[in-house]
Subunit: 257 residues, 2 copies
Amino acid sequence: MDEATGSADERAVEAHVRRLWRHRGVAVPQPRRGPRRRLDVDAVLDAAVGVADADGLAAVSTRAVAARLGLSAMALYSYVGTKDQLLDLVVDHASALPAWEDPGTSAAADLTAWAERLLALHGRHPWLAERPWAEAPGGPHQQDWLERLLEILERWEVPGGSRAAVVTTLYAVVEAAARTAAAHARTSGADAAAWLARATTTRRLVTDYADRYPRTLALPQHADDWRAAPAAAVRHTVEVLCRGLGLPGCAAPSGAG
Amino acid sequence: MDEATGSADERAVEAHVRRLWRHRGVAVPQPRRGPRRRLDVDAVLDAAVGVADADGLAAVSTRAVAARLGLSAMALYSYVGTKDQLLDLVVDHASALPAWEDPGTSAAADLTAWAERLLALHGRHPWLAERPWAEAPGGPHQQDWLERLLEILERWEVPGGSRAAVVTTLYAVVEAAARTAAAHARTSGADAAAWLARATTTRRLVTDYADRYPRTLALPQHADDWRAAPAAAVRHTVEVLCRGLGLPGCAAPSGAG
DNA sequence: GATCAACTCTATACACTGTATAGCAATACG
DNA sequence: CGTATTGCTATACAGTGTATAGAGTTGATC
C-alpha cells in the first residue's frame, strides 16, 4: 500500500488506473475514517452512462451526473477524479465485451462477427465514437476488444506487418459507420429539416453545383444504403479487406466491371 | 435578392451557406448602411485557423479569435454567425484541395496520391480530424476532395456498390492515421511523461496483464511503425483495399504466411 | 469516553464558455 | 438635414470544470 508515496500527480495517475481496472483484481483505495460513502465508482458511472445515452456525451457534466445521484458536483471528485478521467471511465464502463463464439469458418466470418459486435455496441451507445480511442492506453474493456481482434488475426495467420493496419482500419471503419448511423438516426428528429434545408439551399445558391460535382450527385442512391444499413457496409469492407490480404476462405476479387 | 424573406432560421441558413461558398460565385450580403466593416470573413477565418494551429480546436473560442483581430467577441457574429457555423467555416477554410497530377499508373497509385495529400493536410492542421466530416453537407473544399476521389474511382471502374464503402474507409483510415500521428507528435511534449506513467502504472498494478493480453503486448514493435510512419501505413491500407477490390495494376495478394 | 485526524459532502467562488440585449457611433438614403 | 441601418462594445446570464473553505461524520488513539 504505497498510495501515499510519490507526487500528487503520480498518486492521481495511480488512483485513476486503479479505478479503471477495479474489476480486474486491483483495489480502489478505501478511506479508513470519515462518514460512510453513499456511492461507489460504478454507481457514478451508471449515472453518467444514463446521461450520455439520454442526451449525448456533451450533456455529461459534473453537475448533471451529480444531480442524477442526488449529490453536488464536487462530491464526484473523490469517486472518479477529474472530468477527463470520468469520461475515460465512462467510455470503458459502457464498452464491455459481449460473449460470442467465433464462427471459425473463415477469417472474414470471424472478423465480421467482431466488427458487428463492436458496431452493435456503438449502436447502443452512439456517443462512444465521440472520444478517440487512440489517445490513451485505455481500460480493461477496450483492451478486451483489441486482444480478441488480435486473437483472430493470429489464428488466421495475418502477416505481422499488416496487423496494425488491419486493426486501425477495422476500428476506423466501424466507428465511421456508427457515426453515420447515428447521424442518420438523428435525422428522424428536428435536425432532419435543418439538414435538408442546408442541402437544398446549397443547391439553390451554388448555380454550378451540378457541373462541379456530378459524381457527388450521382452517389446518393448508394450512400443511402450506406446510411440505412451500416452493418452490411461494414461486412462488405471486411470482405474486401480479407480478399486484399489473401486470407483463406475469401471469395476471389470480383472483376472491376 | 430575397435575403429578407423567410423566417429568421431560413435566413441564418442562407447566410451560412453563402459564407461557405463565398469564393464560388455566391455573394455574401454586404450591408448598405452603417460604419465600414473593419474585417471580412476570410480575415476572421485566418485568425481562427491561427488559433487552432497554435493551441488546438478547443482553444478556438469567440473571445480568443476576436482578441487576435483586436475586436470584441460579439463583433464576430455578423461575419461568421454562430460558433458552430464558425467551426464549419474554419474546417473548410483550412481544407483547400492542393493541385497534383494523378500518376495514372494504377488505381492504387492514384488513390495513394489522394490519401497522402489528405494525410498531409491533416498533418498541417491536426485539429481537422476533431470535427466529424459526415455530419453536414460540408463546404466547397470538402466537396472538392470527395469529387476528386470519386473521379479516381470512376476512372478505374470501381463497382458502384463498393464506392461508398471505399470512400468511407479511405476517409476513416486517413483520419485515424492523422489522429494517431498527432497523438504521437504530442508525445514529444510534456504529455509523453503522462502517457508513459499511465502505461507503466497499469503494467505495475494489473498483475495478470501479460497473461490476459499477450497479443497486445506483442504488438508494440509494429505499432511503433504505425505511429512513426502513418504515410506508409496508409499506403499499405490502400494497396490492400485495391487488391481486395481486384483493381487493375495491383500485385497479387501476398500469401498468408 | 474524550480527543484528534481523516474523510465526505456542500457551498461558494473564479475563470472560462457561447450568446442575448442594449447602447453608442458611424454611415448612406430620403 | 433628418433618419433608418448597421458595426462594434459593454454588460449580463446561464452554463462549464474545479479550487477552496467549512460543516458534519466516522474510526483510531490516549
